[in-house]
């Protein structure tokens, strides 16, 4: 009989290569496989309700975990609040030392953390060892740097306060690092809840926090399910919520925080396109898919799950993909030679299975390789679905599993159209050996992260986050730090002086003759301004506008939801073109606007004086001219940056226009307030639908005449007057508006936040606080421009 080695010499199979888990089991045993919360620098006992966390590869129970109820959440928040002044009082350098210590400890215990992560989550040990944990350490190192440089790099900013963070189960420790590192670096204190499927590695990090002597209460780790998460979200004394998870829960959180001034960042789902052009290195593109949709069992929010391949190479690519799938090894996540581990939980497994069945039912062709599968455990074969169309369920819904769906395209334009035919906008991969094609498409895809000839590259120095319903806010890099900072002046809470809405019970009929006849002796009818044209209101009504002494000064058209609809359509139609207009070209138009305002100075001041008095009117106009100059100046100077991840590539952090922006303008400085919001938006290439102060809406006519004579393309600024509460609601709810800004009272802020949940548009409000529009340091500049842009990180590896 041949020896076993002889047999193996001929079979040349890989054989098992298990990672030893005994150290982690010892660690779990030392904790009696039971974990309380880490609150105020101490561990709580497990009493009351608890849940079990399991190894999804074996079904084995790993530990019992305490569930935090509202009172536990409250204790954690109180601890964080109490720790806040002390933590904020430290110098950046002192906080940097703690973050540095975190990084060092993570490196020292790298293997234990990797094995623990693999046991709890089911991801392959290769990934936790080579990707997750090194990125965790890198994140703490990088943010130790931001702590050190905080004063230098973020003058005028301060920490938000107590931050509540809720993280998902797909990258438990990495998401912990992405959340905690920037929060602590910026001087916040934290209450964080890991996902209930994967609580263990965060607890190990809490232990590390304790070891490095992090002041008590600065980091509090509590566990539980959605109820615990809700208790965090709803807690009145939390200043910011940062969430990574599903779009569905993101909506719930937006809704739950609408009536508060909690800052919010959401990193949600995706259905990211993976675009392969006919001139791509196809073999490398296939490996890109392995690192994309077959990374972490496809449980990756930014997974390249939607393959778009140019028709003429589609079959060739499919053959290559299928051949590669045959060599993927599915099995025990602790095996060092495994590519695909276990699905995190039965619920997810069933969901993936169900969606694949739906896909097949709807006509997709399902292909799976003949790979050896473990006998038990939650393992799902790598899957390719072809014959999928944009209308297929599996082309639209995030599957969150190792399932690739594929479609073809003919031209770059069609590739972009298909790529953007989704409610999501997290990531995109573009494969082409032609840099012109690749960068052109990169600029056009709606995604926060674009990888050129690569996939799933991450680094602490580069911002990560989505467009559209993939959420808002960035994690990583300088852009990520702003999520945990607020301008110092925004801390002062003075209510905005929004005047009560005028009673417009019995609107007058819209009578041009009569409108023209009133006051000033100026023969002019005020209309709405939509698509570069003066438009009669759909309602056919107008309402009276009074000066500050209560005298009728004119009538304003009463806009309604249909006018908003038309205005948004006009904005949408011009938005792509306006965003593509050169920054220099936009600057020229802004300068021209300033020039024309000066031309009409006397007229505008006279009109404005009726509302705010002659003195303020003159100042508003003069500041307005100056502000217009300022944004003309900024138009070609608020530039992106180039990040330097530790790889041979550049990451271009491009500042892009958001798209269509709805703006509810303030009452207190009707002209300057309007300009202060509309100008940064259009300077950055957005198209705007503005609702002016209804009390002074007759001013519109002067504004649109200025725009008309300044070569501003029609639709870039649309003005719809009327009841701000009604118009604002329609705007906030409109699915073709990409961002909604409210600078009125607290109720308006809450209303737009609530309205935004449909398409999860970006929301920026004054939180009902007053803004001194005459103070250039507070009402002009980068802070405004940052909100008028979103950052797209384009990763461009190079080398021949």
């Amino acid at each position: 009989m041949a020896s076993s080695i002889v047999e193996k010499f001929y079979s040349m199979e890989y054989g098992p290569a298990p990672e030893d888990a005994s150290e982690v089991n010892k660690w779990l045993d030392a904790h009696k496989r039971s974990f309380g919360h880490y609150i105020d620098g101490a561990w709580t006992q497990v009493s009351g309700s608890s849940f079990e966390t399991r190894n999804p590869a074996t079904g084995e129970v790993l530990a019992k975990i305490a569930t935090a109820d509202a009172s536990d959440v409250d204790r954690a928040v109180k601890a964080a609040r109490a720790a806040l002044p002390g933590w904020q009082a430290l110098t950046g350098h002192q906080r940097a030392r703690y973050l540095y210590a975190f990084a060092r400890q993570v490196q020292k215990h790298a293997r234990r953390l990797a094995v623990l992560e693999t046991l709890d989550n089911g991801k392959s040990i290769r990934e936790s060892r080579d990707i997750d944990i090194p990125l965790v350490a890198r994140h703490f190192y990088h943010h130790a740097g931001w702590a050190q440089l905080l004063d230098e790099e973020f003058p005028g900013y301060t920490s938000v306060g107590v931050v509540g963070q809720i993280i998902p189960w797909n990258f438990p420790l990495l998401m912990f690092a992405w959340k905690v590192a920037p929060a602590l670096a910026a001087g916040n204190t934290v209450v964080i809840k890991p996902a209930e499927f994967t609580p263990l590695s965060a607890l190990a990090l809490a232990e590390i926090a304790h070891e490095i002597g992090l002041p008590k209460g600065v980091l509090n780790v509590i566990n539980g399910d959605g109820k615990t998460g809700a208790a965090i979200v709803e807690h009145a004394d939390i200043d910011k919520i940062a969430f990574t998870g599903s779009t569905e829960v993101g909506r719930i959180i937006r809704k739950a925080t609408a009536k508060t001034s909690k800052k919010l960042s959401l990193e949600l789902g995706g259905k990211s396109p993976f675009i392969v052009f006919d001139d791509a290195d196809l073999d490398s593109a296939v490996e890109g898919l392995v690192d994309g949709i077959w990374f972490n069992q496809g449980q990756v929010c930014c997974a390249g799950s939607r393959l778009l391949v140019q028709e003429r190479v589609a079959e060739k690519l499919y053959d290559k993909i299928r051949a590669r799938m045959e060599t993927l090894r599915v099995g025990s996540p602790l095996d060092k030679a495994i590519d695909i581990g276990a699905i995190v939980d039965q619920v997810q497994y069933d969901r993936i299975k169900g969606l694949v069945e739906t896909g097949v039912k709807e006509g997709a062709t399902c292909w799976q390789p003949e790979v050896t599968m473990p006998e038990k455990g939650l393992f799902f074969k790598p899957t390719l679905l072809t014959n999928v169309h944009p209308s297929s369920t599996v082309a639209q819904e995030e599957i969150f599993g190792p399932v690739l769906v594929s479609m073809t395209f003919r031209t770059p334009a069609e590739a972009v159209e298909l790529a953007n035919n989704t409610t999501y906008g997290l990531a995109a991969c573009i494969w082409s050996e032609n840099i012109n094609v690749a960068l052109d498409v990169a600029a056009q895809v709606k995604a926060g992260v674009v990888w050129v000839n690569a996939t799933n590259l991450f680094d602490a120095a580069c911002g990560f986050g989505g467009y559209r319903e993939s959420g808002y806010g960035r994690e990583g890099g300088k852009e990520g730090m702003y999520e945990y900072l607020v301008p110092v002046h925004a801390e002062r809470k003075t209510a905005a002086k929004t005047l009560p809405e005028p009673v417009i019970d019995q609107p007058e009929g819209f009578d041009e003759e009569r409108s023209a006849a009133v006051e000033f002796g100026i023969d002019r009818t005020v209309k709405l301004y939509i698509g570069g044209k003066q438009a009669r209101p759909d309602s056919g009504y107008s309402y009276p506008v009074y000066d500050r002494d209560g005298q009728l000064v004119g009538e304003a058209p009463l806009g309604n939801r249909k006018d908003i609809r038309n205005a948004v359509e006009a904005a949408r139609n011009i938005s792509a073109k306006w965003a593509k207009t050169t920054a220099h070209g936009r600057a020229q138009i802004l300068y021209y606007i300033a020039e024309n305002m000066v031309q009409r100075r006397a007229e505008i001041v006279a009109k404005l004086a009726a509302f705010v008095g002659p003195e303020q009117a003159a100042i508003e106009l003069d500041y307005g001219v100056e502000r217009t100059f300022a944004y003309a100046a900024w138009a070609d100077k608020f530039e992106g940056s180039v990040h330097n991840p530790p790889m041979r590539m550049v990451t271009l952090a491009m500042k892009e226009a958001i798209g269509t922006v709805g703006i509810l303008c303030p009452d207190d400085a009707p002209l300057l307030g309007f300009l202060s919001l509309v100008l940064p938006a259009i300077a950055m290439g957005n198209a705007v639908v503005a609702v002016p102060s209804e009390r002074c809406a007759t001013l519109m006519s002067d504004l649109y005449q200025v725009f008309d004579t300044s070569d501003l393309p029609g639709g870039v600024v649309n003005i719809v007057a009327g009841k701000a509460s009604e118009l604002g609601k329609t705007l906030a709810e409109h699915d073709d508006i990409d961002a909604i800004w409210s600078f009125r009272d607290e109720a308006a802020s809450a209303m737009v936040k609530l309205g935004s949940i449909g398409n999860l548009k970006q929301v920026w409000t004054n939180e009902g606080r007053s803004i001194d529009w005459f103070d250039t340091t507070k009402a002009e500049g980068r802070y405004f421009l940052r909100h008028a842009t979103q950052i797209k990180n384009i990763w461009v590896p190079y080398g021949e």
Binding site: I5, E287, E433, G799
Partner: protein, 341 residues
């Protein structure tokens, strides 16, 4: 030659020869085909992406215990035990051949239970001057002698001389010829000239197997490597080989990945199998495993046979011996405990 091949087959009695297939399709040995310039021009290689993939190969694959021992034995079977130095002498070559016959000490062979493998290296690789010495020293074995030829390593002597050198080596008994290409043809995109050169070499080889050394360290770019691979295959090379061992950079995983992918695409297009030989700088048992994982995952099991896969190596064997001894007795071994080549 024919006799030798039959004997080789007998060696693996009880284990059917591994059929040469790719994705279920049976392949035949390579033969020269007309030069298709489209295939050369269509080459697309993204260097960064190739490097990233190459970097994960050692991290994605690991073989342990008995499997590792078996894999390392296979590395020996696929090894062209090589000496190519200016100070080579007949005695040095004889010593090398003795080692090729008995790569492992008896006590290791016994402890591993692999007597029936009659394990030898895949070949011995020497300069032309020592072909006869080697053939004589290997009498009674099936170990082929490979000769580096064609003005190795630069390959810049007159073409007629290079072709003549091949003939002489074959006459002297070499059954494998490692030729070097004119790198300038690649830089200048002179694909016809490169094709003609390789085809002429192949013709001169007659029955001897020809391995075409691309000198990848000189070619520098991965696209050049891919293009040169395609031309060499179309010109009839039995193997494509990375390096002479004399370039500044020798076999690397990214270069190997590009060549192996070219072999795969070529097989898919033509139904013909070409072998691969990484050479130079492969010194450790761990590296041997990495390359085998590359072959297995990218091309499949048939490319772990010495008919389609060889390492050009000299010091790697010593490291493999040490690892195998550790496998047998659990103690880390020392180099001096194993007979040198």
């Amino acid at each position: 030659m024919a006799v030798k091949q039959e004997e080789l087959q007998k060696k693996s009695e009880g284990h059917a020869n591994v059929p040469v297939t790719l994705h279920g399709r049976e392949l035949v040995p390579n033969q020269r085909i007309p030069l298709n310039l489209d295939w050369v021009e269509e080459v697309r290689v993204n260097t960064s992406a190739v490097e990233r993939r190459a970097a994960t190969i050692p991290a994605r694959r690991s073989v342990k215990k008995d499997w590792q021992a078996a894999w390392l034995l296979r590395a020996i079977a696929c090894m062209d035990l090589t000496t190519l130095s200016g100070d080579d002498s007949a005695e040095r070559v004889k010593r090398l051949c003795a080692k090729a016959r008995r790569p492992l000490q008896d006590h290791l062979v016994k402890a591993l239970g692999i007597e029936e493998l009659h394990l030898t290296t895949g070949a011995v690789c020497v300069y032309h001057a020592f072909v006869e010495t080697a053939v004589k020293a290997l009498e009674g074995t099936n170990i082929p002698v490979a000769a580096v030829s064609t003005g190795f390593p630069a390959g810049l002597s007159p073409l007629a001389e290079r072709v003549e050198e091949i003939r002489r080596s074959v006459e002297a008994g070499a059954s494998e010829i490692d030729i070097v290409i004119t790198r300038a043809h690649v830089f200048n995109g002179e694909w016809n000239a490169l094709y003609d050169e390789v085809a002429a070499f192949k013709e001169a080889c007659g029955q001897a197997h020809m391995k075409a050394i691309l000198g990848t360290g000189d070619l520098l770019t991965l696209r050049n490597v891919a293009r040169a691979s395609w031309v060499a295959m179309m010109a009839g090379a039995d193997f494509i080989k990375t390096s002479t061992g004399k370039e500044a950079v020798n076999a690397t995983l990214p270069v190997s990945l590009v060549m192996v992918r070219a072999i795969r695409d070529y097989a898919e297009r033509t139904g013909m199998a070409v072998g691969f030989k990484p050479a130079g700088g492969i010194k450790t048992a761990k590296q041997a495993l990495d390359w085998m994982a590359t072959m297995k995952d990218e091309l499949g099991r048939p490319w772990l046979e010495p008919t389609l896969f060889r390492y050009g190596a000299s010091s790697m064997l010593g490291d493999i011996e040490r690892q195998l001894e550790h496998h047998v007795n659990g103690r880390y071994s020392a180099a001096y405990r194993h007979p040198i080549a």
